[in-house]
């Protein structure tokens, strides 16, 4: 297990608390900001989820837009720079090969961009309160080594991480 440093962690203690809302809402807002005030290095956006019907994910995202035209223009503007990916739920807290493959595949198509990842995943991240030397820090987030390594370099940024406190989300 290694530490990861998502900029925002949304932890639910029960289903329906609003993790997807928080993560997807954050994705929408970040994309709007990037669209109107682009960063010097282009950003591509990847949303990962593991508990919805893939069609529902798209439907859910379109609801952030006022109308079809708005949504169509948006999709055109972000062509190739945006993906909503559904993966299987993790069998164990250490195994995330499907997610890793999805991120690396997307990153390979956009080698010059910084990839911002919105991980609406349950049973993937673990919240704990001590760091490796036993010092109590308010919160740390861990995940499997290989998955943590994906976020280690300058190209992939873990922006939002969702977690379920009861599904092994607590060490």
């Amino acid at each position: 297990m290694k530490y990861v440093f998502p900029e925002m962690i949304a932890a639910q203690s029960r289903p329906g608390a609003g993790v997807t809302n928080t993560v997807m809402g954050g994705l929408y807002t970040d994309m709007m900001i990037e669209r109107h005030q682009p960063e010097s290095r282009p950003i591509s956006f990847l949303y990962l989820e593991d508990e919805m019907n893939p069609a529902s994910v798209w439907l859910r995202f379109t609801q952030y837009f006022g109308n079809d035209e708005h949504y169509r223009k948006f999709v055109t503007d972000f062509e190739g720079r945006f993906e909503l990916v559904s993966v299987s739920p993790a069998a164990t807290i250490g195994d995330h090969s499907e997610k890793i493959a999805a991120i690396l595949k997307f990153a390979a198509t956009r080698p010059d961009d910084e990839i911002w990842v919105y991980a609406d995943l349950h049973g993937t991240f673990r919240l704990s309160c001590t760091n490796a030397s036993g010092m109590v820090v308010p919160f740390t987030v861990e995940t499997g080594d290989a998955f943590a390594d994906v976020f280690a370099g300058p190209d992939v940024r873990l922006r939002y991480a969702g977690l379920s406190l009861k599904l092994g989300g607590r060490s």
């Binding site: 530490y3 949304a10 932890a11 329906g16 608390a17 809402g25 760091n131 820090v137 308010p138």
Partner: protein, 162 residues
């Protein structure tokens, strides 16, 4: 207490925006409930204005004091808000949104995290009221690191990030 949703963020990551967004939706989803949105650094008038823009002045007037947006500088204010809310509407379901990272702390124990108000007496009172009133839920709590925590975190980053 264990809120339904706990968000942890560094700074400026969007925690307040997310929490308020959930309030906006909850007001629509639960037309017969009461809401308390407590913030420690947002402008409550600006937030209320957003609700007026979204739902219209008339609807907000109809809702009356079932939707409350308040600023708090002490966790005592949160405990008092709960007290007042229950006194006003004893039979309603009350939703609390605690966008007050400076007034909350989290203690992670064996059976999971416990979000606490930073003043122990107020925390005890708050938990007691929650236990006695199952119709009160803390829907969202936003947490942020203290400066001390950030320093510890920075040390950790140096250790694990190559």
């Amino acid at each position: 207490m264990l809120p339904k949703l706990i968000t942890f963020s560094m700074a400026g990551a969007g925690a307040s925006m997310s929490a308020f967004n959930l309030l906006v939706q909850a007001i629509k989803r639960f037309p017969n409930d009461a809401f308390y949105y407590v913030t420690d650094e947002q402008n409550p008038n600006a937030l209320f204005h957003e609700l007026v823009v979204k739902y219209g002045r008339e609807h907000m007037e109809e809702l009356g004091n079932r939707v409350n947006i308040m600023q708090a500088y002490r966790s005592k204010a949160i405990a008092e808000a709960l007290d007042i809310s229950l006194a006003n509407y004893p039979d309603m379901h009350h939703h609390f949104f605690l966008d007050t990272p400076s007034l909350l702390k989290v203690v992670v124990e064996d059976n999971g995290p416990d979000v606490q108000l930073d003043e122990p007496d107020e925390n005890a009172f708050f938990n007691l009221m929650l236990a006695k009133n199952p119709k009160v839920t803390v829907d969202v709590a936003t947490l942020r690191m203290s400066p001390k925590g950030l320093a510890a975190f920075a040390t950790e980053v140096k250790r694990t990030v190559k």
